[in-house]
């Protein structure tokens, strides 16, 4: 879908209104993976980014000034249905988690302070899940295309013999 997603490396979106969170997660992921990391402190900008760039895993804070994490992840779901959606929140509030899981079908819910090993596991499996979904969609499309060209051939065959 995106020009810079074409190299096949998983693309990870990190959104938190605190720059320090993005800096820390970015440093950690760069050490452990070769993923492409896109960090945003502004949820609105992050939402716009997903309109034109492929995203495999979207990790978002919950409490942010312009829109909350659930609203952002809903926008991501709309634009990139295959992306795995993760809420990373310091809000000690299970209500927000339940609300999020129901509204935007979250892939995972993580609490701050987060554990890096767990975060990595979630992001790796989230990226794998997104890849499988995209593969499946491609296969279904190929199948559809093959099916319609088969029908085309069949139609021409019938026409030729009748």
């Amino acid at each position: 879908m995106s020009p810079n997603g074409s190299n096949g490396k998983p693309s990870i979106l990190i959104v938190d209104d605190e720059e320090m969170v993005i800096a820390s997660i970015r440093a950690f992921l760069q050490l452990e993976t070769d993923y492409q990391i896109h960090g945003f402190t502004d949820a609105e900008e992050a939402a716009r980014f997903t309109e034109s760039h492929r995203v495999d895993v979207a990790v978002s804070d919950y409490l942010m000034p312009k829109m909350n994490g659930i609203q952002l992840l809903a926008r991501v779901k709309e634009k990139q249905p295959e992306a795995s959606r993760v809420l990373l929140t310091g809000h000690a509030d299970k209500q927000s988690a339940i609300q999020a899981i129901n509204q935007v079908s979250l892939f995972q819910y993580l609490e701050k302070p987060w554990d890096n090993a767990q975060l990595l596991l979630v992001i790796e499996s989230g990226a794998e899940r997104a890849r499988l979904f995209r593969d499946l969609r491609d296969k279904v499309e190929q199948l559809g295309a093959a099916n319609s060209s088969l029908k085309d051939v069949q139609k021409r065959l019938i026409e030729a013999f009748l």
């Binding site: 820390s24 809000h91 987060w114």
Partner: protein
């Protein structure tokens, strides 16, 4: 000032604040944990690179060191953030003595504002216009409680983004403090019943209906001051508090 109802109200207010404070501390804490791990791993990577000693290896080592330095800078910011939250909490935990003492009310207001910012985050801008004030003879902890009540009310009145304006100035023998919000204003019924114990417009579990009656008790009965408000639907609400500079008990010997 320690009736069960007052304590209940104070606990509810503190509970609301704590939720914000937990968030405010967990965010920098998450960063510090993560950075600590990345820095430790980086140090492990540095040893073999330095042992190799080739220009290439040293070049990579240099990059790793630069990465660690920037994470150390992030840690400093994160620690500062936690320290400023703790500082705000300290002002809430002090207890007033039985005699009034002289304090800078502007500073008391700023400390209380710091505390509410964990709750407001960047949703609400707090603007201050603090005039020059003499030290005021008062029970500062109780007044902090009043400021906290009014600020929390103001914040809860505002839906979405908005602004709270705090003004102070000297007015004859009094200090005049006003707290305005950009919220929708109070309904005529709420205006009539505002100081009635148990009356609240907040959802069950959020408001105790005691914030304003307790505030009035502190300002009027304890300090011999006044508290009133002006509110128009659509125009927001402003609370005015006037506290005398000197408490009568302490009139010159």
């Amino acid at each position: 000032m320690s009736s069960p109802a007052t304590e209940l109200h104070q606990m509810a207010a503190v509970g609301r604040l704590l939720a914000g404070i937990v968030h405010e501390i967990n965010t920098p804490l998450g960063s510090i944990f993560s950075n600590n791990e990345v820095i430790s791993r980086s140090l492990e990577m540095l040893v073999p690179l330095i042992e190799q000693g080739t220009p290439e290896a040293l070049g990579r080592a240099g990059k790793i060191v630069a990465g660690c330095q920037s994470l150390a800078a992030v840690d400093r910011i994160a620690c500062e953030r936690i320290r400023s939250v703790i500082r705000g909490l300290k002002s809430l935990s002090r207890v007033d003595g039985s005699e009034p003492r002289k304090v800078d009310l502007n500073q008391q207001l700023l400390d209380t504002v710091k505390l509410t910012q964990t709750e407001f985050r960047r949703r609400i801008a707090v603007e201050t216009d603090l005039g020059e004030l003499p030290e005021v003879d008062c029970y500062p902890q109780m007044l902090n409680q009043v400021f906290l009540n009014l600020l929390m009310n103001a914040g809860q009145a505002i839906e979405g983004e908005g602004c709270i304006r705090i003004r102070t100035h000297r007015e004859n023998g009094m200090v005049h403090i006003s707290i305005s919000d950009s919220g929708p204003g109070m309904s005529p019924e709420a205006q009539v019943r505002a100081f009635e114990p148990g009356f609240t417009t907040k959802p069950v579990g959020e408001g105790t209906g005691l914030g304003l009656p307790i505030s009035r008790e502190i300002v009027v009965d304890k300090h011999g001051g006044t508290i009133d408000f002006e509110s128009r639907p659509g125009m927001g609400t402003t609370f005015h508090i006037r506290i005398p500079l000197e408490q009568k008990k302490r009139s010159a010997p």
